[in-house]
Every structure is written in C-alpha cells, then in structure tokens.
C-alpha cells in the first residue's frame, strides 16, 4: 500500500498579499533548485493575485503587518527586489514547477483561464491536488 514518495513540494496558495506571494515564489525556486517537483494550487486570493489586471498593481500586505506595508514596498523598490512573478517564472525555468487554478474559485467569481498570467497552466479540483500532495514530501498552506 505504501507508495514511494516523490521529491515534491505541494503548496496551497490561498493568500494574495505581496509578502506571501514573495514567500511562495522564493520557496518554489529553492525547491526547484534542489531538484524537487513543485505543485502550486491557487485558490481564493492566491488565484486572484494571478489575474493579468492585478499582477503588477497589487500592493496588498498581510493585514496583521499593515503598518509596515508602505515601508516594505519602498524598500523593495529601492533595493530592486524582483517581482514575485518573475521569481516564479525563474523557478519554472530551472525546474519542474506547475501552477494550477482551483475550479471552485473560478466558478465562484466567474473567472476564465485567460484572465490569468499564462503561468497558470490549467484548472483543477481539490481532489487532484490532495492526491498529488499525498505522494509528496512537503506540503505548505500559505
């Protein structure tokens, strides 16, 4: 019954704030660099962040650190920190990284796959994600 686990990082990206998007893109890059497959399941605000009309205008920060949002945004700009999507694309360039959209969120908000950056390759259900995560080694909810 016990199947071989695969070297894989499975991430549920629920949040759509820039700080957490940066965390996910950085983790995905580290995992891809170290030879792990990466599965990112985008749901709710995490999926919204990948909408073409919001990717580069979104400046939301985690609400519990809202008072630092402006200072953080300024520091990132001053120091030339790469945009999270650019980092995620770099992860895809060096490794096996898949980004998929939650079908329930899509239907709830009436979104279409073409509303998103093309890095979002497909629409999937939660069962597929869970099945995929079950055989992996690392699962994160962010």
């Amino acid at each position: 019954m016990e199947e071989n686990r695969t070297s894989k990082m499975s991430i549920v990206l629920f949040s759509g704030t820039v700080d957490k998007l940066m965390a996910v893109s950085t983790l995905a890059t580290g995992a891809a660099a170290m030879g792990q497959e990466v599965d990112v399941f985008l749901t709710f605000w995490g999926l919204q962040a990948f909408r073409k009309d919001q990717i580069y205008t979104n400046q939301k920060f985690s609400s519990e650190f809202a008072e630092y949002a402006e200072a953080a945004a300024q520091a990132m700009q001053a120091k030339g920190v790469k945009h999270w999507l650019e980092t995620l694309k770099a992860a895809q360039e060096i490794g096996d990284v898949h980004v998929r959209a939650c079908s329930m969120t899509m239907e709830l908000f009436g979104w279409k796959l073409e509303d998103f950056d093309p890095i979002v390759e497909d629409i999937t259900g939660v069962a597929t994600f869970v099945e995929s995560a079950r055989t992996g080694e690392i699962t994160l909810f962010i």
Binding site: T26, T29, G30, A33, G35, K79, G80, K82, A90, E93
Partner: protein
Amino acid sequence: MTDLKIDKEIDARGSFCPGPLLELIRGVKSVQVGQTLEVLSSDPGSNRDIPAWIQKAKQEFVGAYPEAGYTRFVVRKVH
C-alpha cells in the same frame, strides 16, 4: 586563487535570495564541461545555499572566497 582560471564571471551582487543561486544555476547551464564559473554574491544566504546546490547537482565546488561585502563562489562544471 591567483592562478585559478575563470571561464565565466557573473556579478550577482545586490541581488536577493534566491537571485544569486539562480544566476549560478543558469551560469552552470551555459558553460562547457570542464569550465569554471565564478559568481559574486552579497547575499549572506549564498554561503550555505550555493555549496548545497553544487553538492546536490554533483558539480565541483572549487571554493568560496570572501571579499569586502561579498563573496566569490567558484564552481567547475564536471558533467
């Protein structure tokens, strides 16, 4: 260090984690087997990340040479 031949140098100073590691990975892809690559990084995370990647990727870690405010990482592509 003085007599070490460097075939390609990438200056990743000022780039944040995981930027320098990404540059190193791209650099290793771009050079020929047997060539050496040097990456300059000011990211303190590189001190552990870069040797860890080189080991995982089974390339040859030539060395890390600290300079003022950054480190030179040298890797030889062996396969």
